[in-house]
Amino acid sequence: MNSTVFAPWEDPEQKPLIRFQNVTKKFGSFTAIDNLSLDIYEREFFALLGPSGCGKTTMMRMLAGFENPSSGQIELSGRNIVPVPPNKRAVNMMFQSYALFPHLTIWENIAFGLKREGKDKETIATRVHEMLRLTRLERFAKRKPHQISGGQRQRVALARSLAKAPTLLLLDEPLGALDAKLRQDTQFELMDIQEKTGTTFVIVTHDQEEAMTVASRVAVMDEGKLMQVATPDRIYETPNSVYVADFIGDVNIIEGRSRFLEEGQYEIDWAEGQQALHAATSAKFDNGQTCYMAIRPEKITITADRPEAADNCVQGKIHDIAYLGNLSTYHVELPNGTIIKAQTANTRRIARRSFTWEDQVWLSWTATAGVMLAR
């Protein structure tokens, strides 16, 4: 393996920076976090991803100290932090609403935490200046929060939470209030700053693209449980459940029954009168077990003629075309009514597009293109 790859989670020698151990959090009779264990390592950019109400914000608030777990333990650098109040934790948070103090200038906002530490004036001034430079806000130091734009406010919030050089920085939907274009730029800026400062970042987001872009590892959550924790590419390429496959990106899910072919090879009977699908997997399935084939639209090839030598091949007619500019997604209806999405890059100009509505086409993909899932 290449030694420069950052993957402390694969090294058993590495001690995690944060360790959730069997953490449960209940609000009355509602279980927000359900017996959850998770390790996060130093210098990671870790994303908690899930729909609203999945418990990701509760996880973050427990790290900041605003909520305490009902049971279980949270360790930071090997020390249980559950009894430590928020103002005594080496953890800082960037709030979704930014929570900038409206009565203080940008300079005073950034200096706020440093002043509480009782640092001398010169140290504070140096550090604030450093933060202003890092976030390119030098010109705005004397302004009040309402005198700057949304993107600048976001950077002030980041500078303020980084000023105390926390061991861990928490970001609660940090880009939620920005428009799409600014959001993309800011994502890269965040990654840059994370790399420069070497701080461990934990980000909460419901935007899967954002999580995939910035994070070293992503935890997909649902109803207080971790569904899968892995690097963005693994989450995308090898999801462990239909839920994760469906939550991240676009996917076709085909339900069927498995039939053992040979070691690592299965056939899936999925519809009357259709040829069984062929899939390769390292997981074990029983004969006749219900299983799901998850296949991404961009891994399906669309052709006018039946391809020779394809592992899987079905015929249908084009029901709908979604033209996205760089890509086109074809919704192909099979004779039994199933719709399968196939995506192609628009490398040629639109006038030369080979297919149009109601065309009969062939869809094909290899045995390894899809993922076979048990649930």
Binding site: A64, G65, F66, P85, P86, N87, V91, N92, M93, F95, Q96, S97, A99, F101, P102, H103, F112, G113, R116, E117, R143, K144, H146, Q147, I148, S149, G150, Q152, R160, S161, K164
Partner: protein, 271 residues
């Protein structure tokens, strides 16, 4: 644009006439030359001069001012604390009862509040004077402060306090350095409300006072029972002037601040 309508114009005139005619008459007659209040005998400011020479009125004014300052300050501290606890502490046993009890004096007849305070002061043997009026006024005006401050706190972004805690403040520091400066306008207007309530209170003050302390409203009321003198008109005019200047200044200040902030936000969004 709405067009001119006779109906609206007449309604407006009647409404405002109803509100302001008594006050206008009072102001006009404060400049009356004659000693008779109802007969106009030419313009004069002599009653203002006589007022300033009247020791009893000046004493009463001084007592009233002291009572108002002390009681409104005390009421602001207690009312802000009560509002903060009720809004921030979330749900606890008896919360509804507590918040109901804070607002009860708002609807309690003043006579009853005054009487119960009188009984209390007699019961504990407190000599009636400035101190007892201050205590009485604090009691009934703190709920007004509490209403004003809690309505501001209800829209206060709680994450600001959490941010302060997160950056190393204790709860007390977070309140002093973040919450209080932000809700200050509400606290100040609560103080002004308590101040004006104390300034013009007659009923509760007459129950709580003793022979040593006479407030201006008590003085005016007892003077009027002996017949309305133009001096009283002059005094009332001065009070109206003070209140008017205060209200206009306060609203201009807050309005200007609001307009300026809007403008700056607009500029920031455009840049």
């Amino acid at each position: 644009m709405s067009r001119f309508s006779w109906f609206n114009a007449v309604s407006l005139t009647i409404g405002f006439a109803f509100l302001y005619i008594p006050m206008i008459i009072l102001i006009i007659f404060s400049f009356n030359e004659s000693k008779l209040v109802t007969v106009w005998a030419g313009f004069s400011t002599k009653w203002y001069g006589e007022l300033l020479a009247n020791e009893a009125f000046l004493d009463a004014a001084w007592v009233t001012l002291r009572v108002a300052v002390f009681s409104s300050t005390l009421a602001t501290i207690l009312g802000t604390a009560a509002a903060y606890v009720l809004i921030r502490s979330g749900r606890f046993f008896g919360r509804t009862l507590f918040s109901g009890m804070i607002y009860a004096p708002l609807v309690m007849p003043e006579v009853i509040t005054g009487l119960s305070l009188l009984l209390l002061f007699i019961g504990i043997g407190l000599e009636r004077g400035v101190l007892t009026i201050v205590l009485a006024h604090t009691t009934f005006s703190m709920c007004y402060v509490s209403v004003v401050v809690s309505s501001r706190l209800a829209t206060f972004d709680k994450s600001l306090e959490e941010a302060a805690l997160d950056l190393g403040c204790s709860s007390a520091q977070a309140f002093r350095l973040v919450t209080l400066p932000i809700i200050a306008p509400a606290v100040i207007s609560g103080w002004l409300l308590a101040f004006t309530l104390s300034l013009d209170d007659l009923v509760i003050a007459s129950f709580a006072t003793g022979p040593s302390a006479t407030t201006l409203p008590i003085k005016i009321f007892s003077a009027v029972r002996l017949g309305v003198s133009p001096e009283i008109n002059a005094l009332s005019t001065i009070m109206i002037a003070i209140v008017t200047v205060g209200v206009i200044t306060a609203s201009l200040l807050s309005k200007r601040k609001l307009v300026r902030e809007r403008e700056e936000e607009f500029m920031a969004a455009r840049s």
